[in-house]
C-alpha cells in the first residue's frame, strides 16, 4: 500500500532528528535544513543515505539537492543571482521545492532556503509513486 504524505513526513522527521540532532518539534514542513535545522554539507549526504535506506529508494547524485551543476554555469547565474534561464532550470530540476518566494529575489545564497522538510517529503512521495 502506498504511504500517505503524513506517514512519509513522520519517517522523514525521524531521519532528521537522528541525522541533525534536533528535536522533533523543530522538524516542521516549513523548516529549512541549513537555516532552521543547522545542516552542514556532510549532513546532506547522511540524509540521502538514510532516506535511501528507510524508503528503499535510490537517490542519484544532484537529484534531491542539486548545487554544483547549477552554480558552475554562467548561463544560470549572473551577479550572484539566478537568471530566468537558471530559474527555469531549477523548476525543472527541483520540482519538489517551492520557488514562489525565491523567484522574487533569486540570490544564490538563499538557495539553501529551498531545501525544506516539506521539499524532502514531496521528493520522497514522487519517488515512491514512480516506483
Amino acid at each position: 500500500m502506498a504511504m500517505s504524505r503524513n506517514e512519509i513526513f513522520k519517517d522523514v522527521q525521524e531521519i532528521l532528528v537522528d541525522a541533525l540532532g534536533v528535536d522533533d518539534d523543530e522538524v516542521t514542513t516549513e523548516a529549512t535544513l541549513t537555516g532552521d535545522l543547522g545542516a552542514e554539507s556532510i549532513d546532506f549526504l547522511d540524509i540521502v543515505f538514510r532516506l535511501e535506506k528507510t524508503f528503499g529508494i535510490k537517490i542519484p547524485r544532484e537529484e534531491l539537492f542539486p548545487a554544483e551543476s547549477l552554480m558552475n554555469n554562467p548561463e544560470f547565474i549572473n551577479n550572484g543571482k539566478f537568471t530566468e534561464k537558471g530559474l527555469n532550470e531549477l523548476r525543472e530540476k527541483i520540482p519538489h521545492t517551492d520557488l514562489s518566494t525565491f523567484q522574487n529575489d533569486p540570490d544564490i545564497n538563499k538557495l539553501g532556503n529551498l531545501f525544506t522538510v516539506g521539499a524532502i517529503v514531496k521528493y520522497v512521495e514522487t519517488k515512491l509513486n514512480a516506483a
Binding site: A19, S41, I42, D43, L45, D46, F49, E52, K53, R61, A67, E68, N72
Partner: protein, 187 residues
C-alpha cells in the same frame, strides 16, 4: 589516517609530514572484505603513556581513541574500496555509545561495515568487542574530500593513506588473498 587535519591544508604541501606521524590506534587487520567489511585488532598496554594519566590508578582507554581506532578501521575499509585513490576524511560521528571500559592487557576487536558508499563519501557502522563482550558501537561518515561540492582544491599527494598503514594490512595480504578480493576470509 590523520583525521583532524583539514584545517591545516592550505599550502601546496602539507604543513606536517604525515609519513612521520605515528598516530595509529589499531595493530593489524585480521579480516578484510573489499567494499564490505573489515576486522582489526588492538592490544592495549600500559606502555601507552597516556593510560597513566587517564586515569591515575585507573587506566582505561579513552573513548575518543576508541572512536579514532574505529575511524582508522572504517576509513581504511572505505579507502580500499576506491583503491586508495580518494582522500578519505572523517566527517561526522553519527553514533558513539560506550558500554564498558577497556583496560591494559585487553585485546579489542574492531568490526566495521560499509553501509553506503558513493563518489562523495561513505557511511559505516562499527562495533568494538573485548572477549565477545560489547564495548562500543560507533557509526561514522567519511567524505571523499576531492569530490566536495565547494570545489575546494587539496594537494595531489594522498596525505591520508601513507606507507605507515601498509603494515596493518600485511597479515591479510600475506595469507594469500588480496584485500581487494571480495569474499576472502582470514582469521
Amino acid at each position: 589516517m590523520s583525521l583532524a587535519v583539514s584545517g591545516r591544508i592550505a599550502k601546496s604541501k602539507p604543513a606536517v609530514n604525515f609519513n612521520e606521524m605515528r598516530w595509529i590506534w589499531i595493530d593489524k587487520f585480521v579480516e578484510f572484505h573489499s567494499g564490505k567489511s573489515a576486522v582489526a585488532v588492538k592490544n592495549v598496554t600500559l606502555a601507552e603513556e597516556h593510560l597513566h594519566d587517564h586515569f591515575p590508578g585507573f587506566p582505561v582507554m579513552p573513548e575518543t581513541l576508541m572512536i579514532e581506532a574505529m575511524a582508522q578501521t572504517s576509513g581504511i575499509l572505505v579507502g580500499e574500496a576506491k583503491k586508495f585513490k580518494e582522500k578519505v576524511i572523517l566527517a561526522k560521528i553519527k553514533k558513539a555509545v560506550f558500554f564498558d571500559y577497556i583496560k591494559p592487557g585487553d585485546t579489542i576487536k574492531l568490526e566495521a561495515q560499509i553501509e553506503s558508499i558513493t563518489p562523495e563519501g561513505a557511511s559505516t557502522t562499527g562495533k568494538i568487542t573485548c572477549a565477545d563482550k560489547i564495548i562500543a558501537e560507533i557509526d561514522l561518515m567519511f567524505s571523499h574530500i576531492d569530490q566536495n561540492l565547494a570545489g575546494k582544491k587539496f594537494p595531489d599527494e594522498n596525505f591520508v593513506f601513507t606507507d605507515t598503514f601498509e603494515s596493518l594490512l600485511r597479515d591479510v595480504l600475506l595469507s594469500g588473498a588480496s584485500p581487494s578480493e571480495p569474499g576472502s576470509e582470514q582469521n
